[in-house]
Symmetry: D2
Subunit: 174 residues, 4 copies
Amino acid sequence: MSSEAIRAQWLAEEAEIRARLGAPGVVTLEQLRALTGLEFFERIGNGELPSVPIGVALDFIPVEWKKGRVVFQGTPKKAYYNPLGSVHGGYAATLLDSCLGCAVHSTLPKGAGYTTVELKVNYIRPLMADTGPVRAEGKVVSAGRKIGIAEGRIHDTAGKLYAFATTTCLIFPL
Amino acid sequence: MSSEAIRAQWLAEEAEIRARLGAPGVVTLEQLRALTGLEFFERIGNGELPSVPIGVALDFIPVEWKKGRVVFQGTPKKAYYNPLGSVHGGYAATLLDSCLGCAVHSTLPKGAGYTTVELKVNYIRPLMADTGPVRAEGKVVSAGRKIGIAEGRIHDTAGKLYAFATTTCLIFPL
Amino acid sequence: MSSEAIRAQWLAEEAEIRARLGAPGVVTLEQLRALTGLEFFERIGNGELPSVPIGVALDFIPVEWKKGRVVFQGTPKKAYYNPLGSVHGGYAATLLDSCLGCAVHSTLPKGAGYTTVELKVNYIRPLMADTGPVRAEGKVVSAGRKIGIAEGRIHDTAGKLYAFATTTCLIFPL
Amino acid sequence: MSSEAIRAQWLAEEAEIRARLGAPGVVTLEQLRALTGLEFFERIGNGELPSVPIGVALDFIPVEWKKGRVVFQGTPKKAYYNPLGSVHGGYAATLLDSCLGCAVHSTLPKGAGYTTVELKVNYIRPLMADTGPVRAEGKVVSAGRKIGIAEGRIHDTAGKLYAFATTTCLIFPL
């Protein structure tokens, strides 16, 4: 598929998912405890659970979730620029922290929670207001009983790589 | 000073700085090239250069800048929450990327630019909507001809540590 | 193939390569400058250039090299233990630093050099004296004009993952 | 003090400590469980517990330990070189992993153990065979109930900085 065709598809998928998302909010510990990681993403994706506040603030959404792999999509804008004329590194870090943490979460059974203890991001090329939609794709490298490790990449519709990241998550009983 | 007194002081300093900041925008390469790192922050701080778009999007500002040390301040809000009920890790990463990159920038002479090639963040405790104002303080560890390294910490008015980060920046002629 | 069959094959490959390696030493800048990254590994592998001093000190060797992917092999021993009864983390870091830096080097043309500016290692499970031979496999994630990024993994003959790492290298004209 | 005076002092301290160290070996879980982190280092330092195998392999020793700060000393040698003519990055990573993990260990009470989950090293300048003795100094940044974070630096007798590192350790009951 051409970059333009992929772009049209990504934007169509985004519109379809956005139509189902709930109002922003947070879940209770009871709600969290009762769901596997994948069930949790399903409920957010179909609007049964609230959508994510930071996703509203920086305008990005989850677009794919399966065990060990979660993808977010956003579109870089001038509103996220640093003073030097490209998107601030915090934007890529936010998308990557989302897809990496969720990739680890997607492997968890009911009753298990996680928290990100460490995130490392490599910045490869600048995101610009004309980059178009990008996807942050997180994949689990290792899911242990206490520690989960994931890696992720941000790429555009042409497959160009913008950032690469790895994370370490602590897993614990909720 | 008590945490409350520090809080009052931080908020007063923020109000004073905000009153001077310009409208958000980016600088031109010519403007950047003509200024040392410190002069660049001075011009942003006194409104001669535009304020930073991402700082508007996530509501944080620079509050201190000297050679080798730059501090940003923001106040965590529910609008930046992850679904699990605390501020998303991307918020801390954004503040830390700002103070770390700027700490390296603050050491640069006229005609030198930089880009962040790598950022690592350790998350120590969650930022919450009732945490109050926090400061992200970046300090240079090593400033070479080609590579700058900095470390930074986010702490609140009681001195509690929330996140710790290190960065690697590439330095080059503009 | 069974883990035992792979082990036999790895040890046979190691013996074959060791038979060709030269005495330990370093190369001159002139030698380095005259070779592409891959030619450099070829010359080390066939004994025309000296073998690597640290590889003698910690008993590991290169076993595969092609553009963008380099593999080292070693066998954990009690001599590399920490006081807590498993192989010290520095051993895995050394093998990973080797395969990651060499993966970046393997993409370089004549006249280009590199230096590692940053290495991050995730430790997944302990290496023990009875783990048997392990391979550290480095793969390039991104090779730019100035910065190369690679990721690597240490695994045993059963495919079990012991450590995961990423690196940032600075590339420059020699 | 001049660099030469510091060098003489460091080498004298090293000789004094080496005279007390035991033969290399590992401790049992029972021994480990019965000691606080600091008591553990005391016992290694006075030869009641074995010295550290990897320290023998790469010729470095602990020289200072107190709560939250542990220092190792070693002297770079040609035997640890990479093929490019400087000490391999694995040497610095090994010293830093030692001082960082031990800095976290030094804060632990009886019955608590730790394992390093992640180590990041920034390489600032090359260690050479004529660098002389160097110290790797690890300091705790944060010691929680489950996670310990430390930072460390390698410097020579002139105070020159060679490498900078941070680590994340998982803390657990033994």
